[in-house]
């Protein structure tokens, strides 16, 4: 009996995991690229590193509670089944989450760190020995974290793509689709974070983010397009599965809310923002509300992409 087993908890986790992967990746890039021995885009690096752990931590909690026996989740970490995307993904997630928390710690301002440790109760006072700066680890962490953030961003797609029983998923492109969507959502979240800042708007760093996001969305678009075209030209089961978004119940969500509102509209807004820089080498427009809208749309689009894939995939089948 075909049932929908993975629901909103899983959709949320896929989105949150991807979001963290994107946040970390962009932050790591911003750290790794150096100007005069310092991270080239310090604000991006800092915001990214400090935001990165929380979505994936929340997502992981949701994931664990979705299990039939949540307290058995540790069993994921006593074996390594290389053929199971979920096994690989669990390990990746473990390491990645660790790295993001270390990253958070590395970028946490000294003052704030001292204040946080001041909250420790007397009995746990011995933990104060951890109130040290790991400032020096910033760049090494970024470099170490690159492969894991890519891993986390891509494996959620592999998770779905490896299931040959679900023709909606079983394509080579799903992994990349999710990866670039993840990076795009991370970038968008950073755009929002930078735009929310009441201090001077840092056009230079915003430009970096726009450039990244334009790249990511474009690549994503050119992954979704072949996915659709190849799918329509594929075996019958895949053609039938695609009907779910070509006339079926998920059509509106996919085309209006994901493609249009979640991909193309933000792309055009960002291109418009960047237009002066392309043509005149002048600085970018910065329409704060517009930027925030674009970023929010990207986040919405990223969420809905996963929503459509998780549900439509579980409905699709070989007859």
């Amino acid at each position: 009996m075909q049932t929908i087993e993975w629901g909103f908890l899983i959709v949320n986790y896929l989105f949150l995991g991807g979001l963290s992967a994107g946040l970390f990746f962009v932050s790591a890039l911003a750290t790794y690229l150096q100007e005069d021995g310092e991270p080239a885009y310090p604000r991006i690096a800092k915001y990214g590193a400090m935001m990165a752990p929380w979505p994936v931590a929340l997502g992981s909690f949701l994931l664990i509670f979705d299990l039939g026996n949540w307290y058995r989740f540790y069993k994921l970490f006593i074996v390594f089944k290389w053929q199971s995307p979920m096994s690989i993904g669990s390990w990746l997630l473990l390491v990645f989450t660790g790295i993001t928390f270390l990253g958070f710690w590395a970028w946490l301002p000294e003052e704030t760190r001292h204040r946080l440790f001041a909250f420790l109760p007397k009995r746990l006072a011995f933990l104060k020995r951890f109130d040290v700066s790991i400032d020096a680890w910033k760049r090494p962490l970024a470099m170490a974290g690159f492969p894991f953030s890519i891993g986390v961003g891509i494996y959620t797609g592999v998770l779905l793509g490896a299931v040959q029983a679900r023709p909606f998923w079983n394509t080579n492109l799903v992994a990349q689709m999710f990866l670039f969507s993840a990076f795009s959502t991370g970038t968008a979240a950073l755009i929002l974070a930078l735009s929310a800042n009441r201090k001077e708007l840092d056009f230079r760093q915003l430009r970096f983010l726009y450039t990244l996001d334009i790249c990511f969305i474009t690549i994503e678009f050119f992954i979704v397009l072949p996915y659709l075209i190849h799918g329509k030209l594929s075996v019958l089961a895949v053609q039938e599965a695609l009907k779910l978004i070509l006339g079926g119940p998920y059509t509106l969500t996919f085309w209006l809310f994901f493609m249009l509102a979640g991909l193309l509209l933000p792309l055009f807004i960002e291109l418009w923002e960047m237009a002066p820089a392309f043509f005149q080498k002048a600085t970018i427009h910065h329409n704060k509300p517009l930027a925030s809208i674009a970023a929010a749309l990207v986040l919405l689009g990223g969420y809905l992409l996963r929503y459509v894939f998780v549900y439509a995939g579980q409905i699709s089948a070989f007859k």
């Binding site: 009996m1 075909q2 087993e5 993975w6 039939g68 026996n69 058995r72 994921l76 029983a165 070989f318």
Partner: protein, 184 residues
């Protein structure tokens, strides 16, 4: 249990004779404590036509104990595993209830047990088979649709049927190598 001869259990189904009486479904439920609303085996109906040119056929279905089970491959803890004789089982103690295997099964043969928080499915009544018996569904069928046996044994009923009759398997295109053979 130290039987060194290689075995490969399978089911051959002469579903022309299936009359959708549900005996196998209830026998399995009784034998294996399957909760109401969940099914380890079921009858798939195909009905076509307009009055009075009509057809109806019935195919029993259950876990196919595949040669290449994707449910075993995707299980992150190894709870889903396959015996040397082909029977695919779930070790309740190791199952964390992630339900990845349910999604990976092209035949939708698995179900989730809310009471235990684990995934379950047809076991080919391994507990009966290991004592020399046959699965409950095979034993109870009034029309004698089902034949159970060892494909590695050329003298078994299943081997002889497959060697002398046309048959098909369901959804071969998924590459799982299903071991339920439907006689044509």
């Amino acid at each position: 249990m130290a039987d060194t001869k290689k075995k490969r259990y399978a089911l051959v189904l002469d579903s022309k004779k299936c009359i959708n009486c549900k005996a196998c479904v209830v026998a399995c439920k009784a034998e294996n404590g399957v909760p109401v609303g969940k099914f380890r085996d079921w009858i798939t109906e195909e009905r076509r036509g307009t009055w009075p040119r009509l057809m109806a056929t019935f195919d029993p279905e259950q876990c196919e104990h595949c040669a290449n089970p994707s449910c075993v491959r995707v299980c992150p803890t190894g709870a889903s595993w396959q015996r040397a004789d082909g029977i695919v089982l779930v070790n309740y103690d190791d199952c964390i209830g992630c339900r990845y295997c349910m999604i990976a099964c092209p035949y939708n043969a698995r179900y989730f047990r809310e009471d235990l928080g684990v995934v379950d499915k047809c076991t080919l009544c391994a507990h009966r088979v290991d004592k020399g018996g046959i699965p409950a569904c095979v034993e109870t069928c009034p029309s004698k649709v089902r034949v159970f046996g060892d494909l590695e044994d050329p003298s078994s009923d299943v081997s002889q049927l497959l060697n002398t009759r046309r048959f098909l398997v369901k959804k071969p295109e998924t590459g799982n190598g299903p071991q339920l053979y439907y006689l044509l």
